[in-house]
């Protein structure tokens, strides 16, 4: 698409102002893109490590759990897990990365377990929500493993969401940068050149006309 402009000095000034504006926007967006990219890369590596750790630990947890399931009868197990355990409420807050709103989540521990107040250790403070008499220690172990993984999963969840949001924003910003760099700015520059050439042409036409008139006037 070609930018149409009248061959006037006013138009020329206006075009030049637009170029300056576009270049400034381009610089800013480029900086934004670079910064987003830096954030993105560090967070991607973190998420990758976290996911690997979770996959390992979860496999171990599943193994313990199937061990517990093998020992206990299905009905006892079903009964033991009927009552949901203590934690599991999530508090969500928001953070801004380069104007992208990303969630941050944390597990909110309920305060009804007196144990956690006494020794202050959150992970040990969970009281099992099932009877100890009818269940085996394998189940305790498996459930402790699952509980240990949960905070990691919460972390992974918000990190992955952040990655998703940042990826969207980076893509958008990159498109804008490219549109400015490869489309708008070259077109504006071309338009400036066209106008300048036309103005010069008018100027030359004017001069030659004056010379001609002078000649005619002098001949009289």
């Amino acid at each position: 698409m070609k930018i149409r402009a009248n061959a006037t000095r006013q138009e020329l000034t206006r075009l030049k102002a637009r170029i300056r504006m576009a270049q400034r926007g381009h610089r800013l967006l480029k900086d934004k893109r670079d910064q987003l990219m830096r954030e993105f890369l560090s967070i991607v590596h973190e998420s990758r490590k976290l996911r690997q750790e979770i996959e390992e630990r979860l496999t171990a947890a599943y193994r313990s759990f199937s061990l517990a399931r093998a020992v206990l009868s299905p009905s006892v197990l079903e009964e033991a897990l009927m009552v949901p355990g203590g934690a599991g409420e999530i508090s969500v807050s928001y953070r801004h990365i380069m104007n992208v709103v990303v969630p941050e989540m944390e597990i909110q521990r309920r305060d009804d377990g007196e144990l956690q107040d006494r020794d202050g250790d959150e992970d040990k403070g969970m009281l099992p929500s099932y009877g100890l008499a009818s269940t085996s220690s394998d189940l305790d172990e498996a459930i402790a493993k699952f509980q240990g993984i949960l905070p990691l999963l919460v972390r992974l969840s918000h990190i992955e969401r952040t990655i998703h949001l940042l990826a969207d924003e980076i893509e958008k910003t990159r498109r804008r940068v490219n549109a400015l760099e490869h489309v708008l700015i070259p077109e504006l520059e071309q338009a400036v050149k066209d106008v300048e050439m036309r103005l010069e042409e008018i100027e030359r036409a004017n001069i030659s006309r004056l010379m001609k008139i002078k000649e005619i006037v002098r001949a009289h």
Binding site: F40, L41, E89, I90, L150, I170
Partner: protein
């Protein structure tokens, strides 16, 4: 206060139940889809989905990635992790960066 939901095969989700996660055991696609509808109506901040269910419900989960809540996270499978979650991560990186920088030279 929003909670965490886990959707997957019965044996994969039961273990989470004691940690305060709300479990939705699903043994077939229809059940899973029904559970998903219930989850979307409830107040959940995070939805954990096992790989197997995530593959079946791919189309249903797609729009959720752009919603503020719940955040969908894919769990590795109990028996054989297939790396569906990693694959999703790789796709996002590729889209943002324009190249696969995360896993290049590893496969």
């Amino acid at each position: 206060m929003p909670k965490v939901a886990v959707l997957g095969q019965r044996d994969a989700v039961l273990g989470f139940k004691a940690s305060g996660v709300v479990a939705f055991p699903a043994d077939n696609p229809n059940e899973a889809r029904e559970h998903l509808r219930a989850i979307l109506k409830g107040d959940y901040a995070i939805l954990l989905v096992t790989e197997e269910i995530a593959e079946i419900l791919e189309k249903d989960l797609e729009p959720l990635y752009d919603m503020p809540k719940p955040v969908v996270t894919i769990l590795p499978d109990a028996r054989k992790p297939r790396g569906v979650g990693m694959e999703l991560l790789r796709k996002r990186v590729e889209r943002a960066v324009g190249a696969d920088i995360l896993f290049k030279g590893e496969e």
